[in-house]
Amino acid sequence: MLKTQSTVDRLRQTVLPDEGRIPMFIYTDPEVYALELQQVFGKAWLFLAHESELPEPGSFVVRSMGEQSVIVGRGEDGVIRTFLNSCRHRGMKLACEDSGHTKLWRCPYHGFAYASTGEFMGTLVGAPYERVAYPGGLDRDALHLIEARCESYDGLIFATWNLEGESLAEYLGDLRWYLDILAGRAEMEVVGVPQKWVIPCGWKFPSENFTSDAYHTATAHAFLAKLNLVQGVDFGRDGYHIDTGNGHGLGIGVHPEEDGSYFPAELEDEYRANLDSDQLALLRRVKNFHGNVFPNFSFLIPNFIEIAGQKVSGMMLRVWQPIGPDKIEVSSWHLVERNGPDWWKNKGKAMYIQTFGASGMFDQDDTENWELQTQNSNSALARNDEVWLHFEMGMHQDPMPGFPGPGAVFDGKYSESAGRTFYRRWLELMLEDA
């Protein structure tokens, strides 16, 4: 890291979450980014796929960890693994497609072959002449695919290159109680495939937005009020902001008890079977639900809206995949209860596509902000004085007592507590063994 020593020093001096101040340059500085790929994306647990995307043995999808292409596959033995998408011979990609099904990956360059479980199968099944080319034979073990550590929670598949560190469960910590409500309340499935598109913005802008930015809704998404799509709206304030203390954060918007649950009654039993009474009680009041798992995995249950007499919401998962210092590829999955009634599935999907995703009216507003913040970040880099961003919301606020869920829970969603923690965690990783 010699070459970025000056960067490390600048980070140490200028990233001040405790004071609610974050310097603008860190969002897109190429040297900060190079360090992030190693220190953050090289060590954190990264979301890759939902188990429903790997229905059977042999199913696989191609995803990314940092900028590295990886194969997430369910082996013939049913176990889900994550491999670097790189042949052990000369580093050719083994899978060039987005997804597929196979017993065996045969490299298109020289034919080295690998089982769906990662073992090197020799070249015999691939190219002939192994005995001739390698009289001494090849070292099977040395040629096993490079494998990441892969674990799931509530059907959400994560992997990390940090083979010795904390488990996924430890990594998620207090967030699990809330993830259960999001993704563990029922059997969930991805509808189709993720939408993917490219935004010219630094990956931390959207991540921090989902972590702790309930406040932007009233202005950024002002069209809601202009078009009277929301009445007597609280502009996303009513509810809770939760700081789980390890970089993750979420906001839960709630509606009055008396409204009764917005979720389909048809699924009540399944919910009850999967959630404890406190989680169930909270689910019944959920009006919207957003958050981010450090570093770049977000989730959202958009504010319910009424379509032809029925309240619906189309939930989604998001990965803000960096593909450069100031560019991301967004993946947006629509997730729904597999056993949900058709009206819930159909209207939920329509609502999701019309309001979110590449053409989504909300995403349009947000991408505009993230892109222009990114342009300012790029130019801030060269300034002789720092441009500070303001992260002071809820700085001196105390968590509310007596909330059933874990973590520091704040009354009302207007707080950037989890955002400050996001940067504490980020800085910690960036400076680790520097």
């Binding site: 495939v193 993917k196 598109w197 202009k226 078009l227 596509i353 019309q354 349009q364 507003d365 892109e371």
Partner: protein, 165 residues
Amino acid sequence: MIDVELRFAVQDFLIAEAEMLDSHDYQSWLELFTDDVRYAVPVRVSRKMPAPDVVDEIGYFDENKQSLGLRVRRLGTDVAWAEDPPSFTRRFVTNVRIDPADPSELRVRDYLLLYRSRGDRGVYDLLSGERHHVLRPNNGSFQIASRRVILDQASLGTKNLGVFL
């Protein structure tokens, strides 16, 4: 051989639609669609042959007249930030094909090349795709009863689809 008048009627219609969008006349544009229109842009994926590369279960757009109307009304407000200032757009419509089998529901396909610039330092986006229309004759002209657009990317190279296809 398809009737010449029909050819030009269809071509003029599609070109006029492009002009409405490129000049931000969204109100007139909305009126081109039937009340029962389905406007869909499925997701494209990269798969080994012969696996299908279009996923209709989910899309970038999945609209009806009401949702299109909502999008248009939104663009009429002063808080549709992403398109104000608006992108400069140009919709090149070529390779028109007409299937006259059912005159009451013409099946028409074309290729669309959409040039989009936010006017910033020579940068622009290009979107390419094939459009499948169902056109219903409507006193002298047509209305769009269905549109399905197959985009030529599995990962869209434009920051958002704040522009119609």
